[in-house]
């Protein structure tokens, strides 16, 4: 059976795949279906959902089209979630490989730095970083990666420690390969699977952190974000709770989709590698 079919066979993974496909479709079609500025005024303010079919989910406090904002917000969530997670995985894998492969003082220093990063609550660190440098999409990505690279670093280090004593590494040493080349061309690729297995959790955490940052008003002010929409809706929570609830549901479904698909992938690869 092909890996894809095996992946889709479990109901959880299938549901996750559908949720993610819907999210990606939303992100990609945002400018096609809702061209122009999603933050522009589209109709009367605070129109409830399902009243006017040109504005299916109604409008917010300023009369902006909620559905258009939702589609454009999917784009921000996905972009920030994926890039921040990718950055965290790359930095973590590199730091972990260096620490594990070099050993000694390099290992000691790198791991104490990792400890320090894990001691500071990552959300507080992100908050401080964004407030220092100023909110923009790139800064938010760095701020999130700053708090999430430590997990992959620890996993990569542990894996490298078990790999570096293998025969093929000794072989590479004998033929005179540069230690850095051994570390990154021979050891790192083999240490990657358990690191990559963490990616769904990291993408999910990145999406949630981005939402929390924008909820506190520290997101990119020029972009629609689901967290920002929830914060906007909060000001009229008593009269129009749907303005906060709808983007929150989108957020829950997105993160759930990431988790489910991630579990499915881990299970599929575990079967292939004969682990279960």
């Amino acid at each position: 059976m092909s890996p894809l079919r095996r992946f889709l066979r479990t109901p959880e993974a299938f549901a996750g795949a559908i949720l993610l496909a819907a999210l990606i479709a939303m992100a990609l079609s945002a400018s096609l279906l809702f061209p122009g500025d999603p933050q522009a005024i589209a109709g009367p303010a605070m129109l409830p959902p399902f009243q006017d079919w040109s504005l299916p989910l109604g409008t917010d406090r300023l009369g902006r089209n909620v559905l258009a904002e939702l589609f454009h917000g999917a784009r921000t969530s996905l972009a920030v979630g994926l890039t921040a997670a990718a950055a965290a995985l790359v930095v973590g894998a590199v730091v972990g490989t260096l620490a594990g492969f070099a050993g000694g003082i390099v290992d000691e220093v790198l791991m104490r730095i990792t400890d320090a990063f894990q001691t500071v609550p990552s959300f507080l660190l992100a908050l401080a970083f964004v407030s220092v440098v100023g909110p923009s999409l790139g800064i938010v990505v760095i701020a999130i990666a700053l708090g999430t690279w430590t997990g992959p670093a620890r996993v990569a280090r542990a894996e490298v420690l078990s790999i570096r004593e293998r025969d093929y590494v000794a072989g590479a040493r004998v033929i005179g390969m540069h230690p850095l080349a051994i570390a990154f061309r021979e050891v790192l690729p083999n240490a990657l699977p358990p690191v990559l297995a963490m990616s769904s959790v990291i993408v999910a955490a990145a999406i949630l952190t981005e939402a929390a940052l924008s909820f506190l008003g520290l997101g990119d002010p020029n972009r629609v974000t689901w967290g920002g929409m929830i914060a906007e809706g909060r000001t009229v929570l008593r009269t129009a709770p749907f303005l906060s609830i709808v983007p929150g549901i989108a957020l829950v479904l997105t993160v759930l989709g990431v988790y489910l698909a991630g579990e499915g992938i881990v299970e599929t690869t575990a079967v292939r590698r004969g682990l279960s």
Binding site: E12, R112, I113, D115, A116, Q118, T119, V120, P121, S122, F123, L124, L125, L127, A128, F129, S131, V132, V133, G147, A204, L208, A211, A212, F215, L216, L218, G227, I230, R234, L237, R238, P241, S244, I245, G248, L251, V252, L253, V255, L256, Y259, L260, E263
Partner: protein
Amino acid sequence: MTLTLLRRRLVGSIFVLLTVVIGTFLLLEAAPGDAVDAYIVSTGGDAGMIELLRHRWGLDQSELTRLANYLWALLHLDLGQSVTFSRPIRDVILERLPNTLLLMVSATALSFGLGSALGIYAGARPGSFRDRFLSIGSLALYAVPGFWLGLVLIVVFAVDLRWLPIGGIETLASDKTGLDRAADIAIHLVLPVSALGFIYLALYLRMMRAGMAEVWRLDFVLAARAKGLSRRRIVLAHVARNALLPLVTMLGLQSAQMLGGSVVIESVFSVPGLGRLAQEAVAARDTPLLLGIILTSAVLVIFINLAVDIAYVFLDPRVGASEADA
């Protein structure tokens, strides 16, 4: 042997803390504008005034001198002066800390207690309907952003049903004392604790369940069965007990996450704690205050993990023995 472990962890913690102080100090130094700018924005003043304040607060010295001064002051538990509050930062933080601790301890108790109980319930019969239901349900719960859950709880329980207060830590100007005050605070904490705790509940539930699945396969469970022990006894005394240890480790690791999570929850429920203070510090560009909050959090996280390590030695005698050998 516990002492050796404790001493080694304490020495390690000091290095970590020093790294945190220097790293955060340099990061916040990079911010455009300093405390004087923040002060002048709120009060107004001319160039001479700015010059005078910079000199008085030692901001005209080099970065390295200021770092050294900061570390020296830190040794005396002095975090400096807050511009926004015009008070020592230590006092401001100590005033807010109890609320955050109360929130964190209650949320941890809720998530750990209910999470591991439900985890045992699900893990007692692996693969059953209730196992699958709780497993998917907890995954869904884990996907919920805490601040949004908080808003939904407010809409349902505070706005619609009017059962619980919408925010704050206690009724203002009520001059309640003793038990009345404690009850008042407890009622105010129900919603924020739920919002913060329910997310992590899913984590403990899943860990417990996964841990139990591993233990079920081990020989001693088979032996317990062969001995004719009741299923209830096998689940509680043998399987769950052995699966509980990793959860205790998680308790320490999650403390930093929970402290971060309480920033948003405190903001949603207007709980005057450390997290809201951090947000106020960001809004007011009060960098020394933010630095103080980050350091306090780091110290808190280090102490919690130290406590977890010590608890671990008592829960699992093997740990203390192997650490003493190393």
